[in-house]
């Protein structure tokens, strides 16, 4: 279970006239196994910020994020890295990879990080790239040269190659065409049935209605 308790986030920007930006206050909700919670609200209500707080990329101002038995605010960097490696996946809108590394290597990295044998990892990598319809002749090229939609699918392949029990999705279908969108929604559906607890941002209402079991609107909290 992911539990968000009285979560507050503000940014103190020292070099910009000490501006203090309050993003949100006292957010509370829980996400159980097999649930897909869609975060909604206008731009600037803090949806991506919330995902980054849960993932540990942003510092929690007040309150707690509990993932299984881990309290994110109180965890050391090493504990957060361990949590990410084993349990907590995150699919962002942007692909950040070492240049020149082939797509297949980028995709299987999460499996290698948990000690999976390379042969098995490669097999799984090929499977997920096939599911996501990335043409075979691209697998040995760096994804940095790909189109936006292809890059996004490489990111998704990375996020779904390991069965993370907790998954954060930031606009996973944003730059995909109809068919590819359905493939990704199917992957999310499968993870949900597998018992993953998922929090996502889906601007596309049709996509959201297909996979979300519940919505949390950050404007009404």
């Amino acid at each position: 279970m992911i539990q968000i308790k009285n979560l507050n986030k503000s940014f103190e920007l020292y070099n910009q006239n000490n501006t203090n930006i309050n993003v949100f206050k006292n957010i509370n909700f829980k996400v159980d196994k097999g649930e897909v919670v869609a975060l909604t609200g206008n731009s600037g209500t803090g949806k991506s910020t919330l995902l980054k707080l849960i993932y540990g990329s942003y510092v929690i101002s007040k309150g707690d994020v509990l993932i299984a038995d881990v309290n994110v605010r109180k965890s050391s960097p090493r504990d957060i890295l361990k949590l990410r490696k084993n349990k907590l996946g995150y699919v962002s809108q942007f692909l950040r990879v070492v240049p020149r590394v082939p797509t297949i290597e980028v995709v299987i990295e999460p499996l290698l990080d948990i000690g999976c044998e390379k042969k098995i990892a490669l097999k799984k990598g090929q499977e997920i790239l096939e599911i996501l319809k990335i043409p075979k002749n691209l697998w040995n090229l760096s994804p940095l040269t790909f189109s936006g939609g292809e890059q996004q699918r490489v990111n998704i392949a990375r996020g779904f190659i390991h069965n993370y029990p907790y998954l954060l999705l930031d606009e996973p279908t944003a730059s995909l065409d109809h068919n590819n969108k359905n493939i990704v929604l199917h992957l999310i559906e499968k993870a949900k049935l597998n018992g993953s607890a998922i929090i996502g941002i889906f601007h596309d209402e049709i996509a959201r209605n297909k996979v979300a079991t519940r919505e949390v609107n950050l404007e009404n909290l």
């Binding site: 940014f11 103190e12 920007l13 020292y14 070099n15 980054k52 540990g56 990329s57 942003y58 510092v59 960097p77 090493r78 957060i80 890295l81 950040r96 990879v97 070492v98 240049p99 020149r100 590394v101 290698l112 990080d113």
Partner: protein, 258 residues
């Protein structure tokens, strides 16, 4: 498990007369981890790196290495020959300028082979074979094995320096701006090489750089330095994406987005 750590420096201070090199810096690293040290020129990054490697004598602090035989050595307490031995067997240091880390008047193969001989390799054929395989790894044409590094480009020299340092499979590599003067495609190759070595051999690396793009791709944790002090430390993406200190915010916001 207190004995689990690979390397730990505590309360390191180094003064140059009245001036602070670095002050009261502590850090630790385990096998398979990459630690980045960032900050602008003159912030004390290189001083710190040279102190904890044992190149510079510290004024205060302890430097502990859990060596291959699981004995904990304190660099500030052991004698010079012992320290040099440990530097050769367990550690490696990659200089910003490859000319500082290479022997310019012996061949590329000799530069790699010398390190192997220093840890006991004697079979010439075997040494040459290992040297060739490392040249391949760092993408230097094996036909250049008998050429002197002075005939290499800067990028090739840097890759040769990395090969020379990694051939003995050290457990901890110290790197001072390893991709500093290199063009971007060579930088990428070196980053990729390092990441694979960290994962496959469980090597740990401490990397000093002013390039935040490099640390983001390589480091698990980072330390931000200013005027010899650590002003912020933590998870790499957290420090880069949500820096808490005024100076870290300035540093991060000064990078051009590409």
């Amino acid at each position: 498990m207190m004995q689990d750590f690979l390397f730990k420096a505590s309360n390191i201070s180094k003064y140059y007369g009245q001036n602070v090199g670095c002050k009261n810096v502590s850090l630790d690293i385990n096998s398979g981890e990459v630690l980045g040290i960032v900050g602008e020129s003159g912030s004390g990054k290189s001083t710190l790196l040279n102190c904890i490697y044992g190149n510079l004598k510290v004024d205060e602090g302890d430097i502990l290495l859990n060596d291959k035989s699981k004995t904990i050595l304190n660099f500030t307490k052991i004698d010079e020959p012992k320290l040099r031995l440990i530097q050769r067997s367990d550690l490696a240091f990659v200089h910003q300028n490859p000319r500082d880390g290479l022997r310019m008047n012996i061949s590329a193969g000799g530069n790699i082979g010398e390190r192997l001989m220093a840890i006991g390799h004697r079979n010439y054929g075997e040494i040459r074979e290992i040297a060739s395989s490392w040249l391949e790894k760092v993408e230097i044409d094996v036909s250049r094995i008998d050429d002197k590094p002075s005939t290499f480009s800067g990028g090739m020299q840097q890759r040769l320096q990395i090969a020379r340092n990694l051939v003995t499979k050290p457990r901890l590599i110290f790197m001072d701006e390893p991709t500093g003067g290199l063009d971007v495609s060579v930088q990428a190759k070196i980053l990729d090489l390092l990441r694979n070595l960290v994962r496959e051999l469980g090597i740990a690396a401490i990397i000093v750089t002013h390039d935040l793009g490099v640390v983001r791709l390589l480091a698990d944790r980072i330390i931000v330095m200013q005027n010899g002090n650590v002003i912020e430390a933590g998870l790499c993406d957290q420090v880069l994406d949500d820096p808490q200190h005024k100076y870290s915010q300035l540093l991060v916001s000064s990078v051009l987005q590409v």
